[in-house]
Amino acid sequence: MRRLVIFLAGVALLAAGCGGSSTSSSPKNLVIAVDVPVTGSPYIAQTIRQGVELATSNLNGGGGVRVGKQSYMLRVKPYDNHLSARQAVEDTRRALDAGAVTIVTDGTGVDATWQLARQKGVSISITYDGGSGLVDAEKRPNVFRIAPTNHGIAFRYAEYLIPKKLKVGLLSDDSAYGREGASDVAKAFSENPESVALKLTLPAGQPDLSAQILRARRSGATALLVWGQPPTIAAVLSAARSIGWQVPVYTPPTGADPFIRQQLADHPKWVDGLTFASGRLTAEVGTGPFTNFQSQYEAAYGPDPVGVKTSNGQKVVQPPEFGMYSYDFIHVLVAAITHAGSVEPAKVTSALNQVTAQGANGDARGFNEHNHDGVVDDDIYFARFHDMTYQPVQDDPLSATLPPIAQTR
């Protein structure tokens, strides 16, 4: 009887030991939620999601994320926020119920979702929307952003355009994006009112803006800064160029949206000279890191065709800029998990303030307790279109140092 008891105890211990061993060796899943506007803004949604998937795929390929003896495989859970704050709230609740450690988003509904996420210590990372009020390290300690800010772009434009002695027409459309940008632009140019020829709000979605452009021309504007959705920018270019007005047009990152080139494919010359501002794709280390990232991205998902060709017949592709930001955030997140030694969301969110990781363009990406914006204003550059592709401008000190990125195949 005694032997039997000892035998059974031994079996039990063995079983317990085996169980413990299998628990520590078999990887667990770590959920990363991606809430993007698949319906509403599919290009942005796709590039953000693919950036996350590429990063997680690379990391999982290397054995996942190791915390102590436990390894975790990153699992991406996509949601479609339909560009609706209410849907974003619903998606956030679902993501929290699914145990997500972070939520990567374009920025839709963050005003409403950050508190829900904070209750569970979960971080939110914005990788597209540059709205000024979205990120505040003190008031919203769980909200982070890797994307150029509206505020940064507006002030970079002010310091770029005002010395040129241009009379700038500040145009914005009446979309939420346009209104938010107009506010930042107004602040940036408020110290130099003599450089502003007029301020004008354009109806978003209206294809014919001839009357508004005529008014801008009559105001004596020698440049237009257009803050709006891609269709608005395309409509401004059409209206101006069709009456022979070769006024330089400047835009936020929406100027690089493929939609504009697709709309103006029959008039490629109308796109020439269009200048946009965005976060730089290359760092001091040169094009190597970004080109490497782009190759991986295209190997996984294929190139993002713009749908137009250059004058010599080459197909134009879109560099995965916003995919780069979401890709970078996952690497910062993994650094935070490693630093925290835990996958507990609150600890990971706290650790996000203390780590940096090398971004896809070679820049160091990271946050601290006082700054949750991963793209600093000094990283914002300007690029100008020619023959359906763009290159950094040469009349801006930062931009002039940046090499061009290949955009044809």
């Binding site: 319906t39 609706s84 704050a85 209410r86 849907q87 829900l116 939420a176 209104r179 938010e180």
Partner: protein, 609 residues
Amino acid sequence: MSALSQTAVELRRAAVEARSRWSSSAWLSLGALVVAAVVPFLSLPGVRVDALANTAYLALAATALGLIVGPGGLPSLGTGAFMAIGAFTSGLLVARSGWPLEPAALAGAAAALVAGLLTGGVVRLRPAFVAVSTWLLAWLVWLFLLAFPSVSGGAQGLILPPKSLLGMNATPTVHFEVALGLTALIALAVYALRRGAPGLELSALRQAPALAVSLGVRLERRRLAALAFSAAVAGLAGGLSVQLQAVADPNAYDPFLSFKLLVAVLLGGAAATLGPAVGVALLGLIGLVSGPLARLLQLPLERFDAAVAALLLVFVLAFGGEGLLPWALRYVRRPKPWTRRAVAAPARTAPGPNDPVLAAHGLRKAFGGVVAVDGFELELRRGETAALIGPNGSGKTTALRLIAGAIPPDAGGIELDGADVTAAGAADRVALGIARTLQTMSAFPELTALQNVLVGRAPRRHAGGLVRTGLATPRARRELQASATAAFEALALVGLDQVAGAPTLELTTSQRRLVALAAAIATEPQVLLVDELAAGAGPDELETLAEAVERIRERGVAVLVVEHNLRLVRRVADRVLVLRAGAIVAEGSAAEVAASSVVQEAYLGKARL
């Protein structure tokens, strides 16, 4: 009797009534309610309580919408707009003024009610135009919210702080139970409304508006009240659900929300009280399974659920548009055969003195250049039957319509009991005591004989409004009972009491005419205007119709018959008036008129009475 004991008596009476009407459908509904109430506590895989609560709020709005789509026949596409108004009113009060949730939601309902009343002009329109007008409203409200981010919070929406609900932490479960409870209450109210005078009159207005108005049903008032009720409930649903969502987002109230709600109503079936709620639940279920299904089929459909719902709707419409619940209930319930009921002979009112009750002086009516009635004079006495005859185009029906108030006269006046009623509209005149049967539409096809006659009780109802009927107050229930008795008596008067429960479609043409006559009698008229009662009737039927007219006259009612059938005229008329070019040119007994050479030559040719 003290108020307390009276209340107890009324409650006992209500309980007895409820028990007597309790059916298998009621058990089924109660069972479904109980099952639904415990779902949040079962932690079912894939079921999210916040999504359930949202669905329950949509069901609340859809249940009220069912009243105007079903009995009312008005395809409103503005419910989403009313939800938006409720949501943003409630949201602004909570977020900016710190109101508690309950009064804020009620304020949302009140704002939506006002919006419903303000947009109520559409109820006069045809259904297609109602759909278009309310669809425009949905767009206007949505565009307003987008255009004024200071109100709506712009792209990020209006952020709402957490609040308690009924003294509890407003978790999704609490929201779900509240939404479910409200849906059940509104469904009970809608059930009472459908069974009561509002539902009956809305249904009558949908089937034959002109006939309903001729019986004293007030088209605008009834439809407007139903629209406002639906708007208020939608506003309440919006005002509460916005707190659940934590954000008032304009994008959540785009016009397609209204479309979705109407689809839910049609899908579930507007003819059943719970049909709209079933439709909403079905759409929610489709949303639940469509995602995995789309992934399984590897379909790149972002809105797979919408596509499936649209397909389902096409099927429902293809099979008659009845909706799923009424269709299913048809197989569950066996239609009760209508039974012949005996009834005591109706109490006859004593004929009044043989004094004039109606007088028309110098009536004139022209349509463009055509003068239909000119210098028309008439005097009718209580208990008298007069017949108005004349060749086609002589202005008989126009004269009748002028007296009934269906059209206003260009000149002249009408007096009832010595009071000038010229300015009163058709429904007002029915209430005053002038009823009319119509030439073409004789009955409401979807109602039973008794229900047809009940429509005629409209001008005599005092407790048949939406609120009293919805709350099923003792007074409303008593009046409903009294109306049924009066309607039964009216049917008995025309000899149709034994087919009271028969659907109108199963009645013969002459029976339908008698039903129309009974409906007019149910309005308790002093003057009854009867237009072409005997058109197409055979000799036997003619006798039945004549007897009915005589019995009506015996009650002291003054009857004016416009008739081509000279046999009926000869049979019932005390006096015959001959109309020519809009004016009476001869008057007397049937024999006198028949003998008049002027009449014979000018109007009747060689015909003889």
